[in-house]
Subunit: 171 residues, 2 copies
């Protein structure tokens, strides 16, 4: 496999996780997952930013992306069942990683929406890779590549959204 | 390879990077790498915390660890040359990752020593894995494992050092 092809399949593989991670911005809102409960430090478990609608919507969108991907490149997945399982685990893993990140940020007393450099760009990715690993994984070179470029894609996308006026802060 | 053995070799592989990352605390001090220069945002390029002595000392300590490792498990490396190259690249990569992290933290206006959750625990590791990749790499499962457990090891070690009175803050 050439390096350009390796890069393409790495992005193709991880696509449901990116979609799941971004979708709560669109489908979010509603009842917070922590139900308003606080941890023993007196602060919210996860905060109002993490809702059931965002979580379930994110898993559904990510899984749907995987189904579309299967019909574009069936050979990459082997079967629709594998594609659905993989996309579900990548999406579920990405959103679990996001929740763990929120939990850690609340414990560190960072306000909701405040950036945690590194955690925000890598937590969902590492969690997605870990959850999906039993079904299908990438080569170690592809994983290292995704880890190196994802933060820059994340910052680039946020900066673009900020310059377009879609976001009020550039992160 | 059993899973316990996989875990052992993953830690064994990455050991020089952990040593290089931790050693500036011991061998640091001296002239800052940025020579006091400021970026166009008016803030320091890297800050006083990143010194030539810390960088060079860290690379030397990490490389020495690799030489000791070679004499304990020569078969894992194949040759002393490979062991030295690998340990040098893991150490150099870890410290470059640390410098990039400092640069990003200064741009985000975080004060020196202030934790960047995620970046501090993962930046040096990802950079070490990327630099060492051409010489010798791990399986994708081992890489995902290191990415998941390293933050917890990092926090555990810092909390231990804090409880022992070696550090004034628990991060």
């Amino acid at each position: 496999m050439g390096w350009l092809s390796s890069i393409f399949w790495a992005f193709w593989y991880i696509l449901p996780a990116y979609f799941a991670n971004a979708s709560p911005v669109l489908v979010g809102g509603g009842r917070p997952i922590d139900g308003g409960r606080v941890w023993r430090d007196g602060r919210r478990l996860l905060g109002d930013g993490k809702t059931w609608r965002g979580f379930i919507g994110g898993v559904l969108i990510g899984t749907l992306v995987g189904i579309v991907q299967y019909f574009i490149t069936p050979d990459f997945y082997g079967s629709l069942e594998t594609a659905v399982k993989l996309a579900f685990l990548l999406s579920f893993g990405a959103l679990i990683g996001d929740l763990v990140g929120s939990f850690i940020k609340r414990r560190a007393n960072l306000p909701r929406g405040y950036p945690a450099i590194g955690l925000d760009q890598l937590g969902f990715l590492i969690s997605a890779l870990a959850f999906a690993y039993p079904v299908k994984t990438l080569s170690s070179g592809q994983i290292i590549f995704l880890l190196v470029v994802s933060p820059f894609i994340h910052w680039g996308a946020n900066y673009f959204a900020y310059r377009m006026g879609w976001k009020s802060v550039p992160w």
